[in-house]
């Protein structure tokens, strides 16, 4: 579904991704772990189409389509969703109005009819239950005055509403207490399906206790330096990243 080949990207004069290669099959859940500053969030931003980053080499294809040719909106229409590490507040715009605009905009660009009011509300109800988002939060302005946990639940709520084909979760576990972590993970897990893939970016292994990945990759110095099964996460938790990063450095030398 997603193929990233030898991706190089920079912001300003700083090169952040230095030859990243990664492949994600349909229905798979991949976790990306790595030390701070290794380029995890950059990868998420580039996948979503943020223009602050300049891709200098390499390619990304999504279902065979050159993703780098699409702007952020077109990528969303193609079915890519990013759960933000720091969800943005939009004062004066109700969560519900925002989602309805988003949903209908995507449908329009896919040349589908707008969703009916009744269907929309039924969907809102079902998706809100998934992450235990109460009515007040649905009607409030987008993320305004939400606690850290509420913001993350709202991201997963939006994801459930938009039903993406590829969901990128950028440190969705950061700032969550154990209950919120359980709720968010439950939301994500119930969306796992044979035709939907997830790229879970995290710094800590604990999220992967709840969202069990098929593959785990270590991103360090702008490249994937090690890949393995779900047990790799535990190993990283125990030993840290240094042994891999060091081994990589030795290998290169």
């Amino acid at each position: 579904m997603l193929k990233i080949e030898n991706l190089h990207a920079r912001i300003g004069d700083t090169e952040i991704l230095k030859g990243l290669t990664l492949s994600l099959g349909t229905g798979e859940v991949h976790a990306i772990m790595g030390p701070n500053g290794s380029g995890k969030s950059t990868l998420a931003s580039i996948l979503a189409g943020r223009e602050d980053y300049e891709v200098t080499a390499g390619s990304i294809t999504f279902d065979g389509v050159d993703l780098l040719e699409l702007d952020a909106t077109e990528r969303a229409v193609a079915g890519i969703f990013l759960a933000f590490q720091y969800p943005v507040e939009i004062p004066g715009v109700s969560n519900i109005n925002f989602l309805r605009t988003a949903l209908n905009s995507i449908r329009e660009q896919r040349e589908e009819a707008p969703i009916s009011g009744k269907d929309f509300l039924a969907k809102v109800k079902a998706c809100a239950q998934l992450v235990e988002l109460d009515g007040k939060l649905r009607d409030r302005s987008v993320n305004e005055g939400f606690s850290g946990g509420e913001k993350k639940r709202n991201e997963v709520f939006q994801m459930a509403m938009l039903e993406p084909r590829l969901a990128v979760l950028d440190e969705t576990d950061s700032g969550l207490d154990i209950d919120a972590l359980r709720i968010v993970s439950h939301g994500v897990n119930s969306m796992r399906s044979a035709d939907r893939s997830f790229l879970v970016i995290t710094h800590y292994q604990r999220l992967l206790d709840h969202i069990v990945p098929d593959h785990v990759h270590v991103l360090a110095g702008g490249r994937i330096v090690h890949s393995g099964g779900k047990e790799l996460a535990l190993e990283l938790e125990e030993k840290g990243y240094d042994w891999i990063v060091d081994a990589q450095a030795t290998e290169q030398a």
Partner: protein, 482 residues
């Protein structure tokens, strides 16, 4: 050196005066540029005005001649040459266009985006319509309905002819001739405007809209509006139109006076979308307006404005809270883009006891524009327990635009409560990216963010107007984030 070289203005003055003598015949119904007593006499005569009206104009003109164009506002523009303007032009019988295809495509695109119907587009852009237009019949049936209630809604010229006593009694009582440079000029040369009179206890059953009226006479360059609400009456008045108005008059100096007698309420909503000029601001309208209302006991005046047009805006809709327990409100969204400049705000003059006022101002600056809020809250010595709440927010879309706030507060009564809040924020690229990631287009994203920001004000507009105003905000700011 001859006298003419020494004073070219004087030369032009005398020369132009001479020309006028020959332009009063019926065929050439536009006065040559220039302003002097004779011009005012001609305007008054053409409109068949009573003598008191002429004298009022002449007095205004003599006052205006002693005044200087104000410079305190935070705007820069080349002062108009007041002798280069033609002060009277009969309603234009412009050759109607054959079809919508002949209309400026840019203008049409905007009207399409605003969701204005084909029929409406034809009417607004002066295309000949070969069957009885809906709006005509709407306007007629609507006048009948108002007449039943004793409500007068007509052009100012008609009011001077048909209701001279009402006009004489109220005209210039809220905005005196001498008030300022532009109001004096307006008093001297205004050619038309609207007059609205709501009798005692009447509740006007519909929004009174210039929309119906304005096309009868064409937009006036110097409009004069007077709204009188007798005791216990209510009226909601809509001025302007969200459709783009390409106007060849560069200078607009309108005066609006509102009179709310005991327990009356006037709601006055404006959407202004005049031509802002090109990206450098060239050719745009100078909008120098004086708007003021007076409230008697327990009366309420509420100004709501959405300002997106004009190259330069100078405008402070104000309330004189004269009667005890009266209420003044001002809700404003002012958008400036490209090279536009706006200096707008309000004055709340608390004279009576227990008077309340609320000011909500939302400025949005894009491009290289400058957007200023200027407001005065004045509490007089007699105004016991007066209250004011002001909130002035500024939103910057670019780092080359400016937002300024000039609040003035003067209290002469220790029981007053005055609150002022102000914020300035930058529209986040983060906010826009968040919206794009959810599948919105950039246009939708900006529309949503800006409308969210201006929501408190937009909610005050009558329903139908609000829908159009929302779209207008998004269109005015299209592609302006940088």
């Amino acid at each position: 050196m001859s006298a003419a070289e020494e004073n070219p203005l004087l030369d032009e003055f005398t020369r132009k005066e001479y020309e006028f003598g020959f332009t009063t015949d019926i065929d050439a119904d536009t006065l040559a540029p220039g302003l002097n007593e004779e011009v005012i006499r001609i305007i008054s005569k053409k409109k068949n005005e009573p003598e008191w009206m002429l004298n009022w104009r002449l007095e205004a003109f003599s006052v205006w001649q002693t005044m200087e164009e104000p410079e305190w506002a935070h705007v820069q523009y080349k002062k108009p040459d007041y002798q280069a303007i033609s002060y009277y032009s009969a309603p234009k019988s412009k050759a109607p266009l054959g079809s919508l295809d002949e209309v400026d495509p840019e203008l049409r695109a905007t009207m399409d985006k605003l969701g204005i119907s084909m029929e409406e587009q034809k009417r607004l852009s002066g295309v000949a319509v070969d069957f009885v237009m809906d709006s005509v019949s709407v306007a007629t049936s609507f006048k009948d309905k108002l007449a039943e209630l004793g409500i007068i809604f007509c052009s100012m010229s008609e009011a001077i002819q048909e209701h001279p006593e009402l006009v004489k009694q109220h005209l210039g009582t809220v905005v005196p001739v001498k008030d300022n440079f532009f109001s004096a000029l307006n008093a001297a040369v205004f050619t038309d405007g609207s007059f609205c009179y709501i009798p005692k206890g009447a509740r006007c059953p519909m929004e009174l809209s210039t929309y119906f009226r304005i096309n009868e006479a064409g937009t006036g360059q110097f409009e004069r509006t007077l709204v009188v609400a007798e005791a216990g009456s209510y009226v909601s008045y809509l001025e302007g139109c969200t459709a783009p108005q390409r106007d060849e008059n560069q200078l607009h100096a309108a005066v609006v006076e509102l009179i709310a007698k005991d327990d009356a309420e006037i709601k006055y909503s404006t959407v202004q979308n005049w031509y802002p000029g090109d990206a450098e601001g060239k050719g745009g309208v100078f909008n120098f307006v004086t708007k003021r209302g007076i409230c008697e006991a327990r009366a309420k005046i509420s100004w709501t404005q959405v300002e997106t047009g004009s190259a330069v805006t100078w405008k402070y809709p104000s309330c004189i809270l004269k009667g005890d327990g009266s209420v003044g409100e001002f809700y404003s969204v002012a958008v400036t883009n490209n090279a536009q400049q706006a200096d707008t705000g309000t004055k709340m003059i608390h004279l009576g006891a227990n008077t309340h006022s609320t000011i909500i101002s939302k400025g949005i600056s894009a491009g290289n524009s400058q957007n200023s809020y200027r407001g005065l809250v004045q509490i007089g010595p007699r105004a016991r327990n007066a209250r004011n709440f002001s909130q002035c927010d500024s939103l910057l879309m670019t780092d080359t635009s400016g937002a300024h706030t000039f609040p003035y507060i003067e209290t002469k009564n220790p029981t007053a409560h005055v609150e002022h809040e102000a914020t300035t924020s930058r529209i986040g690229e983060d906010q826009i990216f968040y919206c794009l990631q959810r599948g919105l287009t950039e246009e939708q994203a900006i529309g949503l963010i800006v409308n969210g920001y201006a929501k408190e004000v937009l909610n005050k507009l009558p329903m139908e107007f609000a829908v159009e105003a929302r779209k207008l905000l998004a269109i005015s700011l299209e592609g302006s984030v940088g």
